[in-house]
């Protein structure tokens, strides 16, 4: 029975996640259009709501081109790594409290791992393999430059990302994501307790997901399309999907660690039955994720791209000391209290 419940959870979560990712693409297109005083896609379905389906249909029927002298196996493998990493990261993120459904007590988390954060950090750093291998195997200069940039960038930002999480771990006293969420009950959100950690983590998350202020691996003006220049058809679609899935997962991690996860303040004072409280919490979690994603998108259309040396300066000379400082201050305060 456990296995069946887990499989159902996986299917539901994957379905919701892919649907959300598809509509995040639409949200990005509509929002960026609005920011540029355009209208954006509004022809397929009501207000363009079927546009993601049309996009996928188009990409499925596109020819799959592999450059001559490309390393075919790795060329095929790279998008699989990218999308696989993006999808598996979501496994440990709790998206709701326990829910009682048809007499079964179900925990709304696919895998209850007691080292949840470590798992997330490990997998997100695997994501760089997808980009680097795709850049290397394409046998083309622009993807190679993009791949090299992505590896350098991700390694620089991994460090401050990890360090800014440690403050959260110290407050909760556990690596388990569930415990971290429960420690943020009510308004004790980590964004209030750890504002500096929040900022450094968000900046590092931008760098990890290759979103615009740090999208050097695919900087269009310099590198055509960066690491996925030589990809077409469904393989390109996988990269595209993994970029947005990464954004979704990064938002989910930010929400879990700093914005109280599935905690919705005052929901218990409404006096609803437990089932509806859980449902509200799940939707509250999704709502927070969408807000962060919208933040990601607005930032993309606001801030220009960093130069490579500025990126490295920011990562090593600014983010890292601030993260360590934040760590020391947090430790001191915990010791004193």
């Amino acid at each position: 029975m456990e296995i069946i419940i887990t499989i159902i959870k996986i299917i539901v979560v994957l379905g919701v996640m892919l649907g959300c990712v598809a509509y995040i693409v639409l949200l990005e297109r509509r929002l960026s259009a609005g920011i540029q005083n355009r209208i954006g896609p509004n022809r397929v379905g009501w207000q363009g709501l079927l546009q993601p389906i049309a996009d996928v249909m188009k990409l499925v029927f596109k020819e799959d081109i592999v450059p001559t002298k490309a390393n075919r196996f790795i060329h095929d493998l790279a998008p699989i790594i990218s999308i696989g990493v993006a999808m598996t990261t979501f496994a440990v993120i709790p998206f709701g409290d326990r829910i009682n459904l048809f007499g079964y007590d179900i925990k709304l988390q696919i895998a209850d791992v007691n080292i949840g954060i470590l798992y997330i950090l490990a997998l997100t750093s695997l994501g760089v393999y997808g980009l680097t291998l795709s850049g290397w195997s394409s046998n083309s200069k622009y993807p190679l430059l993009g791949g090299i940039r992505s590896s350098a960038q991700m390694i620089s930002y991994e460090l401050s990302m990890g360090l800014s999480i440690i403050g959260v771990i110290m407050i909760a006293g556990s690596l388990e994501l569930d415990t971290i969420v429960e420690a943020q009950a009510g308004w004790r959100w980590n964004i209030i307790l750890q504002p500096i950690g929040f900022i450094t983590f968000v900046v590092a998350a931008f760098a990890e997901t290759n979103r615009l202020p740090f999208d050097l691996p695919e900087a269009e003006p310099e590198l055509v399309a960066g690491y996925h220049t030589e990809y077409s058809g469904m393989k390109f679609a996988l990269f595209y999907l993994s970029e947005y899935a990464n954004m979704f997962v990064a938002s989910a991690i930010i929400t879990t660690l700093f914005l109280g996860g599935w905690q919705v303040p005052f929901v218990h004072s409404l006096g609803l039955p437990d089932f509806w409280v859980s449902v509200i919490q799940v939707f509250g979690f999704l709502f927070k994720i969408i807000l962060i994603v919208a933040f990601f998108i607005i930032i993309r259309w606001t801030i220009p791209r960093f130069r490579y040396d500025q990126l490295m300066n920011l990562g090593w000379k600014f983010m890292l000391p601030i993260a360590i400082l934040n760590l020391l201050i947090t430790g001191l305060i915990i010791l004193l209290i």
Partner: protein
């Protein structure tokens, strides 16, 4: 002597500006306000653009009292740099004495230069405001008299413009 470089005056950032965050928030405010401003996009097939009279669209023949003004002198055909116009003349009982039996403009060749319009002594061929010229076969690109003849009152704007500008 070395050319002097222009001096760029940059203001030093104030201490709170060095954190960038207030600036980022200010920038986001600007981008977000753009969302609620009027859009520039025209919803094309539904909302069409009305070209001004100076617009050089598809060349058409002016139809007055049910017949074309054209006297089939062949000047347009001579002047056409893209060799798009073909005229065959014949005699008629009307006062203009000559009329075109066949008047074809190959829209695959036409370059919308309006030379035919300039050279025409009878103001019989003018550029219309029609810019939607799609056809799916090459043969459909040759527009005969049936497609070219346009009533005079539809072309008043352009004729007025021509009289004013000449």
């Amino acid at each position: 002597m070395e050319k002097q470089k222009p001096i760029i005056h940059r203001k030093d950032l104030r201490w709170y500006e060095q954190f960038y965050i207030p600036q980022i928030i200010a920038g986001m405010k600007i981008t977000l306000t753009q969302v609620f401003r009027p859009k520039f996009t025209r919803q094309y097939p539904e909302v069409k653009w009305q070209p001004p009279p100076s617009f050089r669209g598809r060349p058409v023949l002016v139809e007055q009292n049910g017949v074309e003004r054209c006297v089939a002198c062949g000047l347009c055909s001579r002047v056409c740099p893209a060799l798009a116009i073909e005229v065959q003349a014949s005699e008629t009982e009307l006062s203009k004495e000559r009329y075109p039996v066949k008047f074809e403009i190959n829209m695959l060749r036409c370059i919308f230069c309006s030379f035919c319009e300039e050279v025409c002594p009878e103001e019989a061929i003018v550029m219309s405001q029609d810019f939607e010229l799609t056809f799916t076969r090459q043969e459909d690109g040759i527009f005969g008299k049936d497609k070219l003849l346009t009533p005079l009152d539809k072309l008043k704007d352009r004729l007025e413009f021509l009289r004013k500008m000449r």
